[in-house]
Amino acid sequence: MGYIELNNVSFTYLLAKRPAMENVSLSIEKGKFYAILGANGSGKTTLCNIIRGFIPNFYEGEMTGEVMLEGKPLKDYSMEDLAPKMGYVFQNPFNQITGARDNVFEEIAYGLENFGVPVDEIQRRVERVMEMTNTAYLAEKNPFELSGGQQQRVALASILVLEPDILVIDEPTSQLDPKETERVFDIIRKMKETGKTIILVEHKIELVAEYADHVIVLENGKVIDFGEKHEVLSKLELQDHGIVLPQSVVLADKMRKQGMEIEPKLVTRDELKQELQRKYGR
């Protein structure tokens, strides 16, 4: 029995012609990092919403099948029980930022206030998370005056501060520059090390190859592949489904075709580097 289980889940948005999610079954282990890949429109955000329970609660449409969390149907959890357990970072940070407070510090503290956390603990947790997400210098700013990248970091901070067991994160780095993006992945890695379960939508394949444990590949609302990252990301045929593969996989394939002896299933730059050093001395 998985930590989170999807059993034959389908969902069709109201008035939509075809299902956004079709017969999806997945088993997610506690404390692992799952990356969701797929073309835009393949159902990545829908899957996140289903796992978080926003579908069917906040979206109209028809859902069949069942989602289980720790052996109990997700629909039997109240929103109050679920909110501290599962954090969701939206794709568009505008949707995350409540605007209920007029500076970034209070925006990040807002969720904890709602959970009734004591003031000194709020102070401590918010400061820690601002340090982690490089948002401390924005503390006094109005959340709506921030750049896209700054908003994205504040949105992430406002969820991290709640310290949920499960983090569902939808494209957290689309507005970030490369260094900021690495910082976000570093934060996610640290979250995983503290036992959190991570479910992440991300197009940046090199970072997925480096950080994720498992990969879920979607196409037209269906899971077309799911498994350990080395197994999934080394399948060249996924390119025919519009999936970008890590450059190590593509380069190693070309090297093999030129007669070089390169082991299969190397997905990160570091793995290919080590193989090249082993076989060719450099």
Binding site: N40, G149, E171, S174, D177, Q277
Partner: protein
């Protein structure tokens, strides 16, 4: 004379925040240029001065012989089209078709020219099937193409694209690449801000590196991604092959997948 000429340009926002300091460069007709650098480096402020959305507070910006301080943004926008970072900053119509048609209509193009431009714009951005859709029913990545198509339909000579690759999947990146090729063949000048170094390597021969409000370097990506000090100063992360070559301690000039394979085959 260059198509775009920045001479010792600085820009300070009205609140006193200085975003660009003493930047000089020139861009020739038909060039295709990537501007890279960290958030806050001054990239967006720089490109906004190319179509008069911002006027330099010091120095001069001349676009096709026009000193931008002597022309309105409306006049300059006939020459330079700007695609915003966030598509929702520039979408106002109920259908994709109306949105794309709006520009050429406002510019007073006749019906035939308007329709030819709209058709071309929809074609190169892959939007032909979405013309009757409400833009807000389309994913953000496709909405970005709606704003690009709107600018193409205005028949401008200079395209400024602010982070077109953000949030794009493989289909989106390929569409962008094909589109750039077609626009270049038509002699258009293209200036793209991007964080995607693989996109830079695959599509641009000239790169402007910005950092802390300054222009550090204009050069071929092959040169730029080999210079550790420059990369460090601008906080850039080099593309895959350059990083791999560096990790492996290869000193030779190796920049593409083909070159690294050749390197190994020749060492055998």
């Amino acid at each position: 004379m260059a198509l775009i000429e920045f001479k010792d340009v600085s820009f300070q926002y009205p609140n006193g925040f200085s975003a660009v300091e003493h930047v000089s460069f020139s861009i020739e007709q038909g060039e295709s240029i990537a501007i890279v650098g960290q958030n806050g480096a001054g990239k967006t402020t720089t490109v906004k001065m190319m179509n008069g959305l911002l006027k330099p507070t010091e120095g001069t910006v001349v676009v096709d012989g026009m000193d931008t301080r002597s022309f309105t943004a409306a006049q300059l926008s006939r020459k330079t089209g700007y695609v915003f970072q966030n598509p929702d900053d520039q979408i106002f119509h109920n259908t994709v078709g109306d949105e794309i048609r709006f520009g050429p209509q406002v510019l007073g193009f006749d019906r035939e020219k308007t329709e030819t431009l709209v058709k071309f714009a929809a074609q190169v951005t892959g939007l032909e099937k979405d013309m009757d859709e409400n833009p807000y029913n389309l994913p953000l990545s496709i909405r970005k193409f709606v704003t690009i198509a709107s600018v193409i339909a205005m028949d401008v000579d200079i395209f400024v694209l602010d982070e077109p690759t953000a949030g794009q999947d493989q289909y989106g990146i390929r569409t962008l690449e094909t589109m750039l090729k077609i626009l270049r063949e038509k002699g258009k000048t293209i200036i793209t801000i991007t964080h995607d170094m693989e996109y830079v390597v695959n599509n641009f021969e000239k790169v402007m590196v910005m950092a802390h409000k300054n222009l550090l370097r204009v050069d071929h990506p092959r040169k730029i991604f080999m210079e550790d000090a420059l990369l460090e100063e601008s906080m850039l992360i080099p593309p895959y092959i350059s990083s791999l070559v560096k990790d492996l301690g290869i000193k030779e000039d190796v920049f593409t997948q083909e070159e690294i394979i050749e390197y190994y085959l020749s060492r055998k």
